[in-house]
Symmetry: C2
Subunit: 412 residues, 2 copies
Amino acid sequence: MAGVPAIAEAHFRAEAYPWEPRSRPDGFLNLGTAENRLLGDLHAAYRPPPLTDAGTRYAPLYGTALLRERIARHLGGGVCPEDLVVVAGATAALDVIATALCDPGDGIVVPTPYYGAFDTDLAGRSGARLLPAPPDPADGHGLSPAAVRRVLDAARRDGTPVRAVALASPGNPTGTVYPPATLRELARTAAAYDVDLIADEIYAGSVFGPGHFVGLREFAGPRVHTVWGFAKDFALPGLKAGVLHTPDPAVRDAARALAYFAPLSTHTQAVLADLLADPGTVAAFLAENRRRLRASYQAATALLDAHGIPYVPAQAGCSVWADLGAWLPGPDPGFDAERELWRAILDRTRVSILPGEAFHAPRPGWFRVCHTLDAAMVGEALTRLGRFLGTRQKEGLRGAGLHTAGSARPLV
Amino acid sequence: MAGVPAIAEAHFRAEAYPWEPRSRPDGFLNLGTAENRLLGDLHAAYRPPPLTDAGTRYAPLYGTALLRERIARHLGGGVCPEDLVVVAGATAALDVIATALCDPGDGIVVPTPYYGAFDTDLAGRSGARLLPAPPDPADGHGLSPAAVRRVLDAARRDGTPVRAVALASPGNPTGTVYPPATLRELARTAAAYDVDLIADEIYAGSVFGPGHFVGLREFAGPRVHTVWGFAKDFALPGLKAGVLHTPDPAVRDAARALAYFAPLSTHTQAVLADLLADPGTVAAFLAENRRRLRASYQAATALLDAHGIPYVPAQAGCSVWADLGAWLPGPDPGFDAERELWRAILDRTRVSILPGEAFHAPRPGWFRVCHTLDAAMVGEALTRLGRFLGTRQKEGLRGAGLHTAGSARPLV
């Protein structure tokens, strides 16, 4: 169930026969893929550059100088273009950094819940082993450096070599913007245990909540390696433009060598450099994206509230981490019960959402619900989901401590 | 010296400070990179499609259905779109097929001379081992199935597991179009030894000589895996559009899984699907390319002839395989002498050409000379090369059997 094959299969099955109110009312409503489709009108107005020499000829396989310069300016914070490695997607960037850092068998600690594709992206080719770090109930729903330390300690006891800690920041699936103090503590933990940090900051520009995003590199030295891309903030996932920032010269050299196997089309690089050409235009574009993300989030959570479905309040990203634990059958349901609920939702409502098992959720019942899609489709899907859950026996309030309709303030 | 680092380093050093007759007469004349720059005017007239949904959204990571359909039609010969895996460049396609076929340590036999980047492309990430198969003098300059059999026999004796035979067809660096009978014999050899075939046919549409190109898949069953791309035939190397054709379902599934790590930008896929939309336009474009390749080859070889530099007559591709063995010092010069000549040419003439050692040439003295570049630059470079060689003592006619000016007919 867990991992990319399930995500990919659900995505392509749903995409192959999508719901359409008139012509295909029995189609799938795909809320399973974290795709930002709110900016299509802005993209359609843009005219890509022609196939000039710069866009068609051989260029450095870790990114053209022009694109790296503009990405560095866009990322800000003193990022140097020489420390950037542009590759064919954030997946490739994660593969590159894991392969550059790890020998096969080396461990990478990952706080849970985490982006399920990390299993493939970080470990599939590199041979690294992911060591999930589940939070204690006392840790709350946020990022827990204490959980990371528990796994690092256990690895020391077992003699498992650990090379890095990896996380998505802002969080995926939770959409949480982590407080600077927590990130600082995580950086100190990594330094104390002599491991590197891999920060997947692909949602860095997709923060719509009140929280202020700070990159992990603010708190760590040359041992934090950051992944970013154009999939989320620019809503261009198909362009497969992944960026690795690494200030460590030896890691950068290894990453450049690995980029040889996954280079990005120079024409797509020319398109992206063109999109980043004017900082004012970029700022306006990103502000409009944040405005649309916020509206989309508010519409989706209003529907969850209306149906009494609890969720972790999000401040970033394309999804809501919803707790359907109360609708799992029996007194102590396992992940088999979650799988059963997932299947029932898909079969009965044709709504595709991803079960928490795919994100190594600490307990069964969580689902990631993506909402940055056609508003009518999201509305139909969440209404169907709410009605379907209304027909099922609620087994008790497992969502205590989460935001539910009527609570004065999100508690997490 | 050998291998990609040298090729890449020479390329970028030369590209960073290119010769220009007026403003930069001390610049480099880069005849080292097999880049077809004869079609820039045709590219510049083309307008790429806008950033539509199809060009920006998630799509199957082994290539969109539309692009695979059009590539299948373009390749012809009953190629099925389902058997195509589109990835981020021919390098990635070679990495994918080697990784899909080989466990680390497995051997891949490669007839020499061969495209030097095979060392990295086929073995760098896969962990496969390349086993060069040098021809006997009796085998001539063409492809030698007998040489392949000698290496396969030796590997059997040593207990080295061999998984495949790999070759570029048409040949690189030689530009040779192999006779169907030779390809058939190679396919029979592979079958007899129970190994797969990897055919790098990236120059399939760049045949300008009288020979008729036939894909290796005409002679072999599901165990021939073909790599093609848009770098040479369409002169779009920066687009990093590589294609793997494999009729073996298990290999195809593995290749699709590996494509996940090196996908091609969907916008670039939209551009390429658009370029392939009308078969008549494609045929005219390719015919014009062949006409320009032939003219470029004839101009370059006329200069080689004028300076008495022998070469293997080419029928395809961007380069000529020239024999400067007569200009190596001493009675029995080694590859150190070749390196010295290479360095002397680069330093004294600023002409960058690649030494045969980078292609695992059977003996020292060969150089690959690319000519599909600005005609004035190629003319200047070959004139400088000819004059420089004229100042050096010729140590005897090592080029016997090759085409030299005055011989009635190329012998090879």
